[in-house]
C-alpha cells in the first residue's frame, strides 16, 4: 500500500479546455479518499490521470515518493474498477481475474491461489467458470473488484463503481466496499457523484466543481463546516435551505431579514458579521432541514429565530417527515418529527436552531460563519 500526492496537477485539452485546475492533495497510506462533485467537475479526469489513462498537462503525480507522470499505467502498480466494470466478455470470471497476473508471467499456482482467495473474499467461488454475460449486475461488480484485488496493487482506483446498480444492491455493495477497505487496509481513491456514498465510505472527501477543488475534509467536517455555498448545498440530503437576507442591527442584536420575516442571530454569529463588516449589507442564510424544528419546546427555545410557513407538500418517511414550503419563491424543506401532525395548506410556525445557522458572503459565496 502507498501514499499518493498530487502537486499542482492540471489537465488542459488541446482545444484549450481546462478540466482540472491546480489540484493539490496528499493521500496518506490506507486512506479512503472520495472525489465528489457534479457531472463534468473533473473528478473522473483526475482519477484517470492517476491511473495513467490521461496525460498530466502540468504538475506532479507522486506514488510512494516517486514521480510517476511518465510511468506507464501498468508500471504504476494501481488497479482500477470502472463504472461499466469493463470485464472481458470472452473470458470466464477466473480468466478475467487471472489476466493481469498471466501477463506478468506469474507462476500458475500463485495465480490460482490469488484468484481463489479473491473469489472467497467476494463470494464468487461458484461463479468462476461463468462468462460475464451470465452474471447479474452485482456479481459483475464483484468480479471487477476481484480483478483489482488479485493484483494486490498499491492503490485502488474506483470510478463510480456502484452507479449501475439498483438502490438496494448499491446499499449492500457500499457496505461490502467498506468492509473490503478495512480488510485489505488499502489506499483507495473513489469517484462518485452520490453524496451518500461519499459520506459513508470516505475517510476524507474532495469536493470539486468546474475542475477546482472546493474543500478537502472529513465527511463530518464537510457537513458541519462547509467552506462555501457550493459545498454546503452539495453535501447533505435533502440539501441545505438557503435565502438571501439583509443583515441589520436592531436593539443591539444582529437580525437577518428575509421575505417579511426576521430572525435574531446568536452572539458569535452576530460578532462574525460585525467583524466582517456585513451588517447593513446582504448575506446568504443557510440552514439544514434537520436544524429546523416545529415542536413547542424548540419554538420556545429558539423564540428569536421563528418564522411562518405554509405547507406545500408533506412527505411522511416513517422515522421523520419532510415538510416542503416556499419562502419568497425559494423551495425550503424541514425535517420534522412524526409526532407533529401537519397537513398540506397548514400555516405553521417553525424555528431555526440558531447555533446551526450558516452564513455565506453573497458575492464570494464563502462561509462567513457556521
Amino acid at each position: 500500500m502507498a501514499s499518493v500526492q498530487l502537486k499542482n496537477v492540471c489537465k488542459k485539452y488541446p482545444n484549450g479546455y481546462e478540466a482540472v485546475k491546480d489540484f493539490n492533495l496528499d493521500i496518506a497510506d490506507k486512506e479512503f479518499i472520495i472525489f465528489v462533485g457534479p457531472s463534468g467537475c473533473g473528478k473522473s479526469t483526475t482519477l484517470r490521470m492517476v491511473a495513467g489513462l490521461e496525460d498530466i498537462s502540468s504538475g506532479e503525480l507522486i506514488i510512494d515518493g516517486k514521480v510517476v507522470n511518465d510511468v506507464e499505467p501498468k508500471d504504476r502498480d494501481i488497479a482500477m474498477v470502472f463504472q461499466s466494470y469493463a470485464l472481458y466478455p470472452h473470458m470466464t470470471v477466473y480468466d478475467n481475474m487471472a489476466f493481469s497476473l498471466k501477463l506478468k508471467k506469474t507462476p500458475k499456482e500463485e495465480i490460482d491461489k490469488a484468484v481463489r482467495e479473491a473469489a472467497r473474499i467476494l463470494d464468487l467461488e461458484k461463479l468462476l467458470d461463468r462468462k460475464p454475460r451470465a452474471l447479474s449486475g452485482g456479481q459483475r461488480q464483484r468480479v471487477a473488484m476481484g480483478r483489482a484485488i488479485v493484483r494486490n496493487p498499491k492503490v485502488f482506483l474506483m470510478d463510480e463503481p456502484l452507479s449501475n446498480l439498483d438502490a438496494k444492491l448499491r446499499g449492500q455493495m457500499r457496505v461490502e466496499i467498506s468492509k473490503l477497505h478495512q480488510r485489505l487496509g488499502s489506499t483507495i481513491i473513489y469517484v462518485t457523484h452520490d453524496q451518500t456514498e461519499a459520506m459513508t465510505l470516505g475517510t476524507r472527501i474532495v469536493v470539486m466543481k468546474d475542475g477546482v477543488v472546493q474543500q478537502i475534509d472529513t465527511p463530518q467536517n464537510l457537513y458541519d463546516h462547509p467552506c462555501n455555498k457550493f459545498v454546503a448545498g452539495f453535501i447533505g440530503s435533502p440539501q441545505m435551505n438557503m435565502i438571501l437576507a439583509d443583515a441589520v442591527e436592531e436593539n443591539g442584536e444582529v437580525v437577518l431579514k428575509f421575505a417579511g420575516q426576521q430572525i435574531a442571530l446568536n452572539e458569535d454569529r452576530a460578532a462574525a458579521l460585525k467583524k466582517g463588516g456585513y451588517v447593513g449589507g446582504k448575506v446568504v442564510l443557510g440552514i439544514r432541514p434537520s436544524d429546523i424544528h416545529g415542536d413547542a419546546e424548540s419554538l420556545q427555545k429558539f423564540s428569536k429565530s421563528c418564522f411562518e410557513a405554509e405547507v406545500r407538500v408533506y412527505e411522511m418517511l416513517g422515522a421523520e417527515a419532510l415538510v416542503y414550503f416556499d419562502i419568497e419563491e425559494t423551495g425550503w424543506v424541514a425535517s420534522l418529527g412524526t409526532s407533529q401532525k401537519v397537513a398540506v395548506g397548514d400555516k405553521i410556525r417553525l424555528a431555526m436552531d440558531t447555533s446551526k445557522i450558516h452564513i455565506f458572503d453573497n458575492i464570494t459565496e464563502k462561509t462567513i460563519v457556521d
Partner: protein, 278 residues
C-alpha cells in the same frame, strides 16, 4: 368474433407462406434446371418446348466435363485463392479496422476517407492497374495473382471498424491497466470480441472469391492455373455451347461450396445477415 379473427389470421399466414413458397421455387428453379440439364443430351437441352426430365440419364456428361477440364487443379487453385483471400481480408481488415476505430494518429480521417472512396468506386476500375502491376512483376498465372486484389479489403476494413467502434473504450483501458501493450490489447482482448464480425467477413469474402470470374479470367490464362469459375467459362464455345457438359461441370464445381455450407450453415446465414450481402 373470435372465429372471424382466427380465420383472417389463418388467411394472412397462408398468404405469407404462399409468398415464401413462390420465392423458394424461383430461387431453387435454376439449380434444379442445372441438375436436370446435366443429365440430358445436347438435343434434349435445346428442345422447345423443353422436357422437364431427361429421357435417359446421361452420366457421360460428367466424364466429358472432367476430361475437358483439369478439375483437381481448378479445385486446388480455387481453394487456395479462397483461403488466402479470407485470411488476408480478416487479418488485415482487423488490424486496420482496430486502428481506425481505437487508435489516435495523425491523418486518420484522411486515410479513412480514402478507404471509403475505394469502397464507393466499382472494383472494375482497379482491374487494369492491378493487372499491369502483376504483369510487370511477372506474376501472372500464379496463385498469388488470384489472391492479389483480395489482400486488403476496403469493405472489410470499414466493416470491422464498425465492429470495434461498438466495443467500449473502457475494455481496452482495462487491458492496458492490466499490463497489456497495444499489440496484446488488440490480440488478446479486442480482436476476440469481434469474432462474429470476423466470421461474417470470412463468409462474405469466401462467397465473393468463389464466384469471382472476371479477375481470374484476366490474370491467369493457363488452364492449369484457373479457378473453377474461370475454368468453366472456357467450356462456352464461340459458336455453340454443350450445355449438358457445362452444367455437369458447374454441378461438380458447386460440390465444395455445398459441403462447406452444410458444415457452416449458421455462420453463413449470420454472415449474410451481418454484412447485408445476398
Amino acid at each position: 368474433m373470435s372465429s372471424s379473427l382466427e380465420r383472417s389470421r389463418k388467411i394472412r399466414t397462408a398468404g405469407i407462406y404462399a409468398f415464401f413458397v413462390i420465392g423458394c421455387i424461383v430461387m431453387i428453379f435454376p439449380f434444379v434446371w442445372m441438375f436436370l440439364t446435366s443429365f440430358k443430351t445436347v438435343e434434349e437441352s435445346m428442345m422447345i418446348p423443353p422436357d422437364i426430365l431427361p429421357k435417359s440419364w446421361q452420366l457421360k456428361n460428367f466424364t466429358d466435363a472432367m476430361a475437358s477440364l483439369p478439375f483437381l487443379a481448378l479445385y486446388k487453385n480455387t481453394a487456395l485463392m479462397v483461403f488466402w483471400r479470407v485470411v488476408c481480408a480478416v487479418v488485415f481488415s482487423s488490424m486496420a479496422g482496430y486502428a481506425f476505430a481505437k487508435l489516435k494518429f495523425k491523418g486518420k480521417n484522411v486515410l479513412f476517407s480514402l478507404v471509403l472512396i475505394q469502397m464507393m468506386l466499382p472494383s472494375q476500375i482497379f482491374i487494369t492497374p492491378q493487372y499491369q502491376m502483376l504483369a510487370k512483376l511477372g506474376l501472372t498465372n500464379t496463385v498469388f495473382a488470384l489472391v492479389f486484389p483480395g489482400i486488403v479489403s476496403a469493405f472489410g476494413t470499414f466493416f470491422l471498424r464498425q465492429a470495434y467502434l461498438g466495443i467500449p473504450d473502457e475494455i481496452a483501458e482495462a487491458a492496458y491497466l492490466d499490463g497489456c501493450n497495444q499489440w496484446q490489447t488488440f490480440v488478446k482482448v479486442m480482436a476476440p470480441l469481434t469474432k462474429a464480425s470476423m466470421a461474417a467477413l470470412a463468409v462474405f469474402t469466401a462467397v465473393f472469391a468463389y464466384g469471382d470470374l472476371m479477375w481470374p479470367l484476366i490474370v491467369n490464362t493457363d488452364l492449369n492455373m484457373m479457378t473453377l469459375s474461370s475454368g468453366l467459362a472456357t467450356l462456352r464455345g464461340q459458336f455453340s455451347t454443350n450445355f449438358p457438359v457445362m452444367m455437369a461441370g458447374s454441378l461438380l464445381a458447386m460440390i465444395p461450396m455445398v459441403v462447406l455450407y452444410l458444415f457452416f450453415q449458421k455462420q453463413f446465414i449470420e454472415g449474410v445477415a451481418m454484412t447485408g450481402g445476398k
